[in-house]
Amino acid sequence: MTALSRTSRIVTAALVVAAALGAASGAWAYHTRFVANNCNTNAPQYTSYFTRDGSITVALYAQYEGYQWAGGCWNDNDVDDSPGDPTEDPNTGGEGGDCSGFTFKVWRESLTESDAQAWQWNKLRFVHGPYTAARFKNGDGAPNVTYGKVGLIRMDALASSSHIGMIYVKNADGTDQIVEAKGEAYGTSVWTRTYRGDSNYGGVRRLGWSA
């Protein structure tokens, strides 16, 4: 009886430890400290010359990096350094941008919506910008305008009220390869999308490209 009781206590203790470890693991996943440990708030650099090809280069630094709701900071090691964050939680401190923050940074926009000039944001600069996907879809901000979907070209964007992605390559079949911060489970990369034919999506253009 005593031996059975001791065994029972051991099993119970093991379960408690296992549960605690599981909880600790979950807590770690919720707060990765990627932003705290790696990101900065340095001032952006003004540039009078910015091109669509240059913005593609900016975008591809973020490829295979993570996704972070309200985020805007990533490195270039092709790994999501904060995987498994809960969806749409702005406080998890993980790597990556969300769709609108990614677009803001790739389009090299200003924190001030009346400023249409181009600003280089370092990839480790934590910044999201003032626009949601819905704001982009509406063409809000001096640099942004709505644009007919038929005429969209490379690095123009397709936006709905809850998502935005930029055109990497226009496919012959009417679809596009879209570079986008897709979601926590997917990260940031290039995928073939049918946004152009989706009535929920509208065209958006960043103005002022040098080339």
Binding site: T41, W69, A70, P86, T87, E88, D89, P90, D98, C99, S100, G101, L111, T112, E113, V127, H128, G129, P130, Y131, T132, A133, A134, R135, N138, D140, G141, S160, S161, S162, H163, S199, N200
Partner: protein, 241 residues
């Protein structure tokens, strides 16, 4: 107090009333005709130029220059043209049947609509201030929030609307606690009070907007039906998604 079709209490528009804070203590109601009628600083007006509703007795101890915002709970079919202009901006992405419950709020700084789409998995809203927005009609913003098991995970902050003197007005949703009947937002020497309605998140306004971090701060106090403070928080929320 009358009830709307959804069973939610709706406080009717009342005659002009303003609130002046007694020194370091409770508020005193200053009605039209009182000696300081001409004191524009103390005579609060809502965005539509009307006087705010009288503060409920339960909130008599709220500190500061407190103004009760007006809330109306309506069905989409009862909305006016201005409000339909908001709903049209969500088409074709979202569907809003005529029977949809819509919460309309009017405060000193801003006004808003809040509703769920037909699936009830998405929260929709429009915000406006008293500054014209040009071709976009009266609404300076529309917001979309995904609901997870009926709850938001993010306040869906907007910081791009401007007030009459071009000051930034931030908007954000807050989900009240179970006991919460009113939410008070403090800032810039004034306190706006919002009544919880229709079991929907409450769209709040603030002038505490930080451009550098694309965020807005809401200094909140929640009160139960007896005026007891049940929660206090300083919500710093960033633009997202």
């Amino acid at each position: 107090m009358p009830r709307d079709r959804a069973g939610v209490r709706v406080r009717p528009v009342v005659a002009v009333a303003a609130r002046a804070a007694a020194v370091g203590a409770a508020l005193a109601v200053v009605a039209v005709g009182c000696s300081d009628r001409g004191d524009q600083a103390s005579a609060a007006r809502l965005l539509d130029g009307s006087a705010p509703p009288a503060l409920p007795d339960a909130l008599g101890d709220v500190d500061g220059h407190a103004v009760l915002t007006r809330v109306r709970v309506l069905r989409a079919s009862e909305l006016g043209e201005r409000e339909h202009a908001c709903l049209r901006r969500f088409r074709p992405e979202f569907s809003v049947p005529p029977g949809t419950i819509v919460v309309e709020r009017t405060g000193e700084l801003g006004a808003s609509l809040t509703l769920r789409d037909v699936t009830r998995h998405v929260l929709l809203g429009c915000d406006r201030t008293d500054r014209p927005t040009g071709d976009d009609g009266p609404w300076c913003d529309r917001s979309v929030g995904r609901l997870y098991s009926g709850h938001l995970r993010d306040p869906r902050v907007d910081i791009l609307c401007r007030g009459r003197t071009r000051e930034r007005i931030g908007f954000g949703w807050v989900e009240p606690g179970v006991e919460t009947r009113w939410i008070a937002v403090r800032g810039s020497g004034r306190t706006e009070i919002y009544k919880v309605a229709a079991s929907l998140p409450v769209r709040l306004t603030t002038t505490d907007v930080a451009v550098e971090t694309s965020s807005a701060t809401f200094d909140l106090r929640e009160y139960d039906a007896h005026g007891k403070e049940v929660r206090r928080q300083r919500l710093d929320a960033s633009v997202a998604g």
